[in-house]
Symmetry: C2
């Protein structure tokens, strides 16, 4: 998940300075018009220390009209607060309709910290997360607009940031021993936070992952996300809770042009293997995969492997390199095309549940449930509330697989636009490949940018340590195949 917030996004100073005056004016206007909608706005700020949460909150306060705004920070509970149930402190600070409340620290802080320091069991954490989900749902049902920002810094960036703050006399007071104590637990924090985000990323109270390295980028992102959400609400709903789901979701804002970096842009597509190296490494990896898959079979460890990717990215070829290594009795390849009548008559996840492998077996999905948040989203086959809800549904589905011990691995086979064009043309020019290229492929190609946005969102919301997305550099087919087979070897080694 966090890999989608480690892309080095930045906004140049001139662009920032050009953008801010307009953004401020628009925010003020939206804030003013918000009153008529009787919507309470709840902004949750979470994330790692040193990621500029405080600065961003200060900036927002500067941009907005302070008369309609309240900021609440939560330290250790006061005696007053300890005397009551934990949520009392949050209830008493909820903003009234028409007002904006910024929660700097929130109902997420305590469960995450307690879990990291072992004061909650895994199932107690999940219980707390379920309570949070219920609480937010209740507020949304009552008409609240909830925006949740998670500020992320890579481990190294956090260390540098804390050291820098500490060295500067003007800011050294801001770094406490607690910050370093927490930093030592960085990996644990990342795992627990990831789980918390994954299980509370509801369609109508979504998390927005903020890459926090650059102050100008994060401020513009947060400001624009807020503006976008306010505008949607003003357009759609006056007064009463939005009964229509279309009125609810929050759209990710367009970032500044220079910051519009997606996770795919960080893939080095020039990576390639020579014939020799390819033969050697593929053979070795396949031999290992064969051995491990037999072992997994004996030990009843199942696998689910998902292949998604651009048209002509070479999913088929990759899948064949995987299956070639395995005993044919041990795997099944499920190609996902348009649903059958029977499948259409059920929930969209039903057709995938059908193919969950028995203990020790492998199911390879050639396209998958991610169609909901890719093609169905981009083409409008699913309503916005449907695909937004799907992230939480998919995470829950995969969680059930993982809880049952299934090894889940998801590949996105990436190729560049030019490479795709070349392959399309080659297919059209080759008699026996011509059937592989259709008008639809050409149409999809025109939607490259919306697909990139959808893919980036998908990885941010559904990649996890337990069910990771692996972005495969596919311009060189040999490189891709070796990367796929070697990744599966690693995943099985870890599980066995």
């Amino acid at each position: 998940m966090f890999e989608a917030a480690e892309l080095g996004r930045k906004v140049p100073k001139e662009e920032y300075e050009k953008a801010v005056p307009e953004l401020r004016a628009e925010l003020l206007e939206a804030q003013f018009r918000l009153r008529n909608t009787k919507t309470p706005v709840i902004i949750v700020i979470g994330g790692v220390e040193g990621a500029g949460k405080g600065e961003t909150v200060n900036r927002l306060s500067e941009w907005l009209d302070p008369r309609g705004l309240e900021t609440h920070a939560f330290g250790p509970p006061s005696e007053e607060e300890r005397d009551r149930p934990p949520y009392w402190r949050f209830w008493r600070t909820l903003p009234a309709r028409g007002r904006i409340g910024i929660f700097f620290g929130s109902w997420y802080t305590d469960p995450i910290v307690k879990r990291v320091f072992g004061k909650l069991t895994a199932s107690e954490l999940d219980q707390e997360l379920a309570r949070i989900a219920f609480f937010e749902q209740m507020l949304v049902d009552d008409g609240a607009l909830i925006l949740k920002f998670w500020f992320h810094l890579a481990k190294d960036a956090q260390r540098k940031r804390l050291s820098k703050l500490e060295k500067d006399k003007a800011t050294s007071w801001r770094v406490t021993p607690r910050d370093w104590k927490f930093f030592k637990m960085y990996d644990k924090f990342a795992r627990v936070s990831e789980r918390a985000i994954r299980r509370t990323d509801a369609g109508d109270a979504p998390w927005i992952l903020v890459e926090a390295g650059d102050s100008r980028y994060r401020e513009l992102l947060v400001g624009r996300a807020l503006l976008e959400a306010l505008r949607q609400r003003i357009e759609n709903g006056q007064g009463k809770p939005a009964a229509s789901p279309a009125a609810r979701p929050v759209t990710m804002p367009p970032a500044a042009a220079e910051a519009a970096v997606s996770i795919l842009d960080r893939v080095d597509l020039s990576q390639a293997l020579s014939d020799d190296e390819y033969d050697k490494r593929l053979a070795k990896a396949q031999e290992r995969l064969g051995r491990l898959s037999r072992e997994a079979h004996d030990e009843k460890v199942s696998s689910v492997v998902v292949f998604e990717g651009w048209d002509a990215a070479g999913k088929g070829g990759n899948i064949r390199r995987v299956t070639a290594a395995m005993d044919a009795r041990h795997y099944q390849v499920i190609p996902i095309a348009a649903p059958t009548d029977e499948e259409r008559a059920h929930h969209y996840l039903w057709r995938f549940w059908r193919h969950i492998p028995r203990a020790g077996l492998v199911t390879i999905f050639d396209r998958s449930w991610y169609g909901r948040v890719l093609v169905e989203r981009v083409e409008g086959f699913a309503r916005e509330d449907e695909w937004r809800r799907a992230f939480l549904e998919i995470n829950d589905f995969e969680q059930q697989l993982v809880d049952h011990g299934v090894v889940v691995t998801k590949f996105w086979i990436h190729i560049g636009g030019e490479e795709q064009l070349a392959r399309f043309k080659e297919r059209e020019g080759t008699a026996y490949k011509r059937h592989k290229i259709t008008d639809e492929d050409w149409r999809n190609r025109e939607k490259w940018d919306p697909y990139v946005a959808a893919i980036n969102d998908m990885v941010a919301r559904t990649s996890s340590t337990q069910a990771p997305w692996v972005i495969v550099a596919g311009n060189d087919k040999r490189f891709a195949r070796v990367q796929v087979v070697e990744t599966l070897v690693k995943r099985l080694q870890k599980a066995l």
Copy 2:
């Protein structure tokens, strides 16, 4: 909760035989028209052994067209099923759109049984219940109609029923050693089931509590509830999921006239105390309450006491008898009238959260959050989806109090209609009492029957061992006051 299903409701044979042909015809027609709505219907059957679940399912199968119906019973999982995540068996049996699936045993069975036999911790149970709530919500979002019936028998009735089945040669095979083993855990089962029901009683996947002692009553109840729900769906929604909440909820069906017994009908309103007895018992109870409330203060055990009741039932007089026993620094009485502007600008629960007592103190609410499911429901001040959702919200709210160690007790002061009339007239005739009677009181009186239905529903859905509703027999004021004070004594004794 279960007290609402121990009222001895029955349907006479003639009435049953008169009702069935029409009900069957209507069910068949509704089932036929259901197809066009593309709605999958999921009927969950749960409850105690020997409560006639099987017979009722058989009857439903007889009444409905078998071509659009499927029944699934779940025993111990097969090897096939054990090889996959636990929900796989449910996913594979979900009905297609336009079809009805009866789940005889369901996703509830395993968590409840495991918790009763100590194989799940309390928080693991809650985790499972949260998963269930998510699963059902996902199906509802996809357009499913979910009806959940809980078949209840009082402990004694269950014993008799099992013995009777066992003695009869024709049915003795139906009683297994497992049934008796479960029977021994009756109280534990009741507690765990109550929790499961309370935490999954969503507005759009509600539980319907079935008093199971009389086969004719339970069959008509289930049949009519199903008919009502199908009709609502056919009227409101074609095809796509009901985005409008109004399309979702299921109304409790009117039961046969002779079976229309509410929990209030079982209150013996003739109970009374002589002056002497009243003085003695009240003084003794007040003395104890005084002592216990001081002890609670010292030990930091808080209480929340709710008073609801008919107009002129004497809430004020009861509250005064309680407060008279306590140190004025230890309690606060919060009269709930129309919300202030500030309160109206928040979630309806906000005004109650404000008054949660500090550790060791008592808050007495003269009317309460139950207004949402009483006056707001009956008068239409809250939309149907709002008050239906409120049961789950209220249960969660009280759960947080209970989890924090707060002693929660809820009184409904009951009086008969004639007694109310007499009191109204007396008030009108007495100068200093005249301000206590308004046109609104007279108007409310005309809605007696809808109020009775709302009260019965409220008790069924929100009374629990940890936060019980106590129905007070209020025709005799002396009897009521003693009942109230003595109940609070018992509640505190238990908590300290």
